[in-house]
């Protein structure tokens, strides 16, 4: 079912006027994201972050009139696959960007990279892509999927927590996250449970946790799943019994819906909306002004995707047909990122710091995330060594 949620961002009339021979006269970006169902919590944030970047660039990425074709993958791998086919053959995109969930990313990764389509993930970073199946056409302005959990594992290892219960949805990223967690956490595991990706009622699993009586729980539930899990965890009275540690679960998209139930939770992240960084400050202010809410990590990642592209298109003077030069320019990552300095690892994933934070009651009484400490510094993923690229 190819649901189309497309809209053009650039004046195509303008594009028709500026027809020059050598350099490309326009840039077409296929932006795939999840805009329906519980996963849309993440997908909408990605889209909105991209829109802020397009505003900042006056809809010209690297000086080229740019159209961004936004499509809804409905969080279904087969739909994602069809959309990529349409992107490549019907829309004839220059760059594919966005992407919400790791399993969708994996479904479209082959067709994109094999056809030599420049692909920038604004969110998922499955281990397969970071390691053996890495591609020179693929970049990420987010993170490799294990990373936040590795940071949490490192934090809990340092803290000396034992007997922890692990729970995550049963899909590509769920497995990466728990693998990453256990890479740095060496203590005992009280239980390890995967739930179906579409499951939103966790009553049976919460009862099992209560019966297992662990000392703490580590959970990964992205987007709408996280909202339901954390609320139900609190409603079942588990929050005060077993401290809940999360990765990719608590952020500015899910926090308003979870509310009080999130206070006291520990999380990890790579970016802090309150950071003293001019790019972040401008991004956060404009995002707040346009959408009336503070941005989450996803928006920042998508913002960086467009800014990275902007720097690369500029560097090749708009000649994006020269693929090797274009790819090399992207790899340089010579742009102003929301995280300050930005550099790529050999596999096209960033090397960056990861923080540990806590949900506290803010000055206005609403829950907010307070960054407490650096958990992992200058951290690259464990898979880069398996990737043959330099």
């Amino acid at each position: 079912m190819g649901k189309r949620r497309g809209f053009l961002l650039a004046a195509t009339a303008l594009a028709a006027l500026v027809q020059t021979a050598q350099a490309a006269d326009k840039l077409t970006i296929g932006f795939m994201t999840t805009l329906s169902g519980p996963g849309a919590v993440i997908g909408v944030e990605l889209r909105d972050g991209m829109l802020i970047a397009m505003d900042h660039l006056n809809k010209k990425v690297g000086g080229l009139p740019t159209s961004v074709i936004v499509e809804d993958d409905q969080q279904k791998p087969d739909v994602a696959r069809q959309l990529v086919n349409k992107f490549q053959k019907s829309d004839r995109i220059d760059v594919a960007a966005g992407f919400s969930f790791s399993n969708l990313m994996l479904a479209v990764y082959g067709p994109l990279t094999q056809a030599g389509t420049v692909t920038i993930s604004s969110n998922p970073g499955p281990s397969q892509i970071a390691g053996k199946e890495c591609s020179p056409y693929f970049f990420s302005t987010s993170w490799q999927g294990d990373s936040w959990a590795e940071a949490m594992g490192a934090y809990l290892q340092k803290k000396g927590v034992q007997n922890i219960y692990l729970i995550a949805p049963n899909y590509a990223a769920g497995k990466d996250v728990l693998t990453g967690f256990k890479r740095f956490y060496k203590g005992s595991v009280a239980g390890e449970v995967y739930t179906p990706l579409s499951q939103l009622d966790f009553s049976a699993e919460l009862a099992q946790i209560r019966a297992t009586n662990p000392s703490a729980v580590f959970a990964f539930f992205p987007g709408g799943l996280g909202i339901q899990f954390v609320k139900q965890y609190s409603q079942a009275g588990l929050k005060d019994k077993f401290t809940l540690y999360t990765s990719y679960t608590i952020d500015n998209t899910t926090l308003p819906a979870i509310g009080e139930d999130a206070v006291g939770l520990i999380n990890t992240t790579f970016w802090n909306a309150g950071a003293d960084n001019p790019v972040t400050k401008k991004f956060v202010a404009d995002f707040q002004a346009k959408f009336g809410r503070p941005p989450a990590e996803y928006a920042a990642q998508a913002y960086d995707t467009i800014m990275l592209l902007d720097s690369a298109v500029k560097a090749v003077n708009g000649k994006i047909e020269d693929k090797p030069a274009f790819l090399a320019a992207i790899r340089k990552a010579d742009f102003k990122s929301v995280r300050g300095a930005f550099r790529f690892n050999s596999n096209g994933f960033p090397i960056q710091d990861y923080f540990q934070g806590r949900v506290v009651k803010g000055e206005d009484g609403k829950p907010t995330i307070r960054i407490e400490d650096i958990a992992l510094k200058d951290h690259g993923d464990a898979y880069a060594s398996e990737c043959g690229l330099k």
Partner: protein, 318 residues
Amino acid sequence: MDRTKVLAMLTVLGLALVPVAAWAFDEPFWIDLFARVAIFAIAALSLDLILGFAGLVSFGHAIYMGLGAYTVGILSYHGITAGLVHFPAAIVVSALAALMIGAISLRTSGVFFIMITLAFGQMGYFLAISINAYGGDDGLSINRQSDFGSLLRLDDLHVFYYLVIVILAALLWLGFRLVNSRFGLLLQAIRFNERRMNALGFPTFRYKLAAFVISGAVCGLAGALLANLTLFVSPSLMHWFRSGELLVMVIAGGMATLVGPVLGAIIYLMLEHVLAGLTVHWPAVLGAILLLIVLFGKQGLAGILLARKKVKEAKPHG
């Protein structure tokens, strides 16, 4: 030659001309789109055999498409790429599944048959989700198309497209022969009055089961083709919504005409494509059309295009 067959030939001819149009208008995407249409046409055709001619409302037909596709996916996953293994295996697997499901389901009738086929469809769906080795919920990517050597290179979209069209044409021809054979006539007689056929000494159960298995096998073939087109299989192939869509294609095109389901697949998928370009709320338009078909135009497109008399004959009692 009767008008149904003329319409069938025109339809196949039209489909065969799609690559030419795609080339003329520089729209290579059309070939992908119509390859998909033709594959679903095969699946809808298979459903028409039991729905239109035997009156069996299978509400879980997508399972055979899924099984055919997964057979190709799983064999490829294990490094078996030969097309001469893929396709026969897909057909055999879905035929066996149809044999098993049919043997159980056909002991029920009416609404119970609808429900039990739905149950089996859902079982297939959840089975695919539960088997993690083959991707589970995430689906399974296939590295390359089924390998038939250099004679038939399925990775060439034009070659693949015409293969699908040839298969569709062959199945239509076989279908016409089948429904007019003794077997086909018996099936239709069973639909009109099963008790009488039983009393006359015909093993009606066996006839229905045979039709069910043939239908499943053909649908499995469609699944194998779909796997080759998308190079990706996922549990959603077997979701009950898919089975509903197949029913819609058959009805919209015209039941018990064989060519109707082909037209139905074209209408359904083209409407989806065109409407999706106009509005994000295209399923609502589709739903409205569906309602109108049920309320006002049961004979389907083929029924409108063909003589109305023919359709009256095909209408079931009760």
